[in-house]
Symmetry: C2
Subunit: 351 residues, 2 copies
C-alpha cells in the first residue's frame, strides 16, 4: 500500500473505536468496534511527536472510567465515541520529531488502540533499555501495574516482616506482584481470586501461603477468619465493596489498607455502601489511596529492584496474551468478569 | 448517717444504674435509674485502691457502646444491668491504699456514676496539679476530650498553616478545641453543628471562619461546596454516615481524615453505608482512626501547651453543666440528640 516517496508511506491502520459512552453496567465487546483507516508513516512537519508501530496494548481496569460520559469520568478524560480509544502500550518508533526519541527506539506509555499511532504527548513515554525480558512485560510487571504494586506495597503499606497480608484480585496484573513482594519480605500472604485456576496459581506459582475463591464464599468475613485467624495487618485493596467490609471487621491493631482500586464498583450506577468503617477507630487503622502516576520518578529505582528478581527467577509473572487487535475489545471487557488469568495484554504485532 | 469510729463512716451513696442493655435506638433516660445504697468511707484492709468523692462526671459518646449487650459492645466492656455505670470524672480522694494517692488529692479518671466510689483500677487515674482553672475542665478541655482534640489534630491530621479544615459536631467537647487549634495554626476552619445557637458559638466564640447547621442542609455536599469551595484538606470526623460521604466528594488532593468518632452511627442496628470511598484513590487521601488512650503518655506535654492558652485567653471552652446526679441520665442521653451545648458535664458535688 506504499504511496509517495520513502517515509511517506501510507498504510492501512486498523483501529479500535468506542461506539458510545457506557454509563453503567458491564462494558460489552459491542461497545467498541474495529475499523480501518490509513496512516502516513511520518511525523507531520514541525511536530515534535513520534510515530510508532504498536506491538502490545495493555488492558487496564481504569479504562472502564474512560468509557463513561465526560460528567462521570473517573481518573482521566472520557474516550470520544467514534474515535480510537487509547491506553498504555509497548511500541516501536518509526519516525520522530522529538530529540529524545529516534527511529528504532522501543518505548512504553500512552498510545492508541490501533496499529500505528502518532503520539503527540510524549512526556509520559518511557524508553525501553532492557530487552532481555519479554517486551510485553512493559505493559505489566515492568510497566504501570508493576510500579503500582511497588509503590502501593512499599510506600503505602509500610510493610514489616512477619505481618499478615491480604490481597484481593490477587492473581491480576498488580496483585500477583504485591503478593510476591510481600513473600520476599517475609510476610504471611493470602489472596482472593475468582476461580479455582487462579487460586491454584496463587498457591503454586506465586507462592502465596493461602488463597481462596471469593465467589464460593457466601460469607467473606468468615473466609478471612478461616485463612487469617490472627487478623490482617495489611490489606491491598483492588476490589472494594463487600470485600472491603469483610476486611474491616478482620483488621488487627494498626492495620493499613492501601486503596489501589475498587474494580467491583466501576460499573455500578451508585457504588455499594461500606458499613464497617467504625473499625478504623477501634483498630487505629489507616486507609490510604494512591495513584501510580505520582510515583513515576521512582521508575529507575523500581527497575533496579525488579529486573534482577526476574532474571534470578525470584519473581515470576503470568500474562494472558490475546492475539491481534480484533481481540482487544473482548480482552478489555473480560477484566470485569475476571476472564483474564494474569496480566491481560493484546499482541498487535511482532517487532 | 455516721456510724462506727473515725474513717469508718457509713454514708448514703446515690448511684446511677443501668436498667437493661440497649441494643439499638437512641438511649433514653429510663434506661438508667437512680437508687441509694450505702458506702463505707474507707478503703478495705489490704486494698491499694482509693476511695473518692465524685465532684464532676463526664458524659461521653463512647458510653453508648457500653450500654449495648456484651456481644455488641464497642471500645470497652458493657455496663452491667443493675450495677452503677462508670465513666470519667473528677474526684477528691477521701482515703487511699495506694502510695501515689493521699487523702485530699484531686484526680481525674475512670470512676463510678455515684456520689462516692471505691476505685480499684488506679493505673489510669491522673493527679490534678493545676487548680487555678475550673475543676470541671478535667472532664473536658484538660481531660480525655482535650487530649483527643490534641492528638487527633496534631498527630493524625498532619496539619499545615493555610489548610482548609472541616470539623463535624464542631461545638462539642472535642470539636470546639480542634477548631481553635486549627485557627491558632493559621488554618481556614469550618464547622457543622445541629442548631443556630451552636453555629453562633462556632463563629462568634470559637473563631471559626464559617459554620453551618447540618440539620438545615438537605444536600450536605452542596453545603460543603458553599463553605469550602476550594475543597477540604483536613476533615476531623466526629459523626460518620452521610456527612462522611459528603466530605469524600469534597476532598482536595492529599486530604487527611482523622476518624475520631461516628456518633450518628452508634445507635443504629447496622451502620449506614458509605458510598464515596473511591475518592480516596482519586484524591490520594488518607483516612486514619485513633484512640486517645494510646496517647496518654503525652498528657504532660499537652498540659504544657494548653494551660497557658487557657490562662492567656487564647483558647476558650464552653461547658454544659447539669446539676446533681439525678440529672445525669438525661445529660448522657442528650448527647445523642445534641441537647448539650459544649462539653456535657454533671456536677455531683462541690468540693
Ligand atoms: N491506584 C492506581 O494507581 C492503580 C493503578 C493500576 C491499577 N489499579 C487498580 O488495581 C486493581 C487491579 O488492577 P489490575 O490491572 O491488576 O487488574 P487485574 O487484576 O489484572 O484484572 C482485573 C481483575 O479484577 C477481578 N474482578 C473483576 N470484577 C470483580 C468484582 N466484581 N469483584 C472482585 N474482583 C473482580 C477479576 O479477577 P477475579 O477472577 O479474581 O475476580 C479480574 O481479573 C484495579 O482495581 C485497578 O483499577 C490502580
Ligand atoms: N477516638 C477517640 O479516642 C475519641 C475520644 C473522645 C471522643 N471521641 C468521639 O468524638 C466525637 C465527639 O465527642 P464529644 O465528646 O466531643 O461529643 P460532643 O460533640 O460534645 O457531643 C456529641 C454531639 O454529637 C452531635 N450529634 C449527635 N448525634 C448526631 C448525629 N446523628 N449526627 C450528627 N451529629 C450528631 C450532637 O451535636 P449537634 O447538635 O452538632 O448534632 C452532640 O452534641 C464522638 O464521635 C466521640 O465518640 C473519640
Amino acid at each position: 500500500m506504499a504511496s509517495g516517496g520513502v517515509g511517506e508511506e501510507v498504510l492501512r491502520n486498523k483501529q479500535v473505536m468506542l461506539r458510545d459512552y457506557v454509563s453503567n453496567g458491564f462494558p460489552k465487546e459491542l461497545d467498541m468496534y474495529v475499523t480501518t483507516n490509513t496512516v502516513k508513516l511520518k511525523v507531520p512537519e514541525g511536530s515534535n511527536g513520534v510515530l510508532v508501530k504498536n506491538l502490545f496494548l495493555s488492558c487496564d481496569p481504569y479504562m472502564r472510567g474512560r468509557m463513561k460520559p465526560p460528567t462521570q469520568a473517573i481518573y482521566m478524560d472520557s474516550f470520544t465515541p467514534g474515535s480510537p480509544i487509547s491506553g498504555l502500550g509497548v511500541a516501536k518508533v518509526l519516525d520522530s520529531g522529538h530529540p529524545n526519541f529516534k527511529r528504532g527506539d522501543l518505548i512504553w506509555g500512552l498510545t492508541g488502540w490501533e496499529e500505528y499511532s502518532l503520539i503527540t504527548v510524549t512526556e509520559s513515554l518511557f524508553k525501553i533499555h532492557n530487552t532481555d525480558v519479554p517486551l510485553s512485560y512493559y505493559t505489566g510487571i515492568l510497566g504501570m501495574p508493576g510500579m503500582t504494586a511497588y509503590v502501593g506495597f512499599y510506600e503505602v503499606c509500610s510493610p514489616k516482616k512477619g505481618e499478615y497480608v491480604f490481597i484481593s484480585a490477587a492473581s491480576g496484573a498488580v496483585g500477583q506482584l504485591v503478593g510476591q513482594f510481600a513473600k520476599l519480605l517475609g510476610c504471611y500472604v493470602v489472596g482472593s481470586a475468582g476461580s479455582k485456576e487462579k487460586v491454584d496459581l496463587l498457591k503454586n506459582k506465586f507462592g502465596f501461603d493461602e488463597a481462596f475463591n471469593y465467589k464460593e464464599e457466601p460469607d467473606l468475613s468468615a473466609a478471612l477468619k478461616r485463612y487469617l485467624p490472627e487478623g490482617i495487618d495489611i490489606y491491598f485493596e483492588n476490589v472494594g465493596g463487600k470485600m472491603l467490609d469483610a476486611v474491616l471487621v478482620n483488621m488487627r491493631i494498626n492495620c493499613r489498607i492501601a486503596v489501589c482500586g475498587m474494580i467491583s464498583q466501576y460499573s455500578l450506577e451508585r457504588p455499594e455502601g461500606v458499613h464497617n468503617l467504625m473499625n478504623l477507630i477501634l483498630k487505629q487503622a489507616r486507609m490510604e489511596g494512591f495513584m501510580v502516576p505520582n510515583y513515576y520518578h521512582k521508575y529507575p529505582e523500581f527497575l533496579n529492584l525488579v529486573l534482577p528478581y526476574i532474571k534470578e527467577g525470584k519473581i515470576v509473572y503470568v500474562e494472558d496474551i490475546a492475539e491481534g487487535l480484533e481481540s482487544s475489545p473482548a480482552a478489555l471487557v473480560g477484566l470485569f468478569t475476571g476472564r483474564n488469568v494474569g496480566k491481560q495484554v493484546v499482541m498487535v504485532a511482532r517487532e
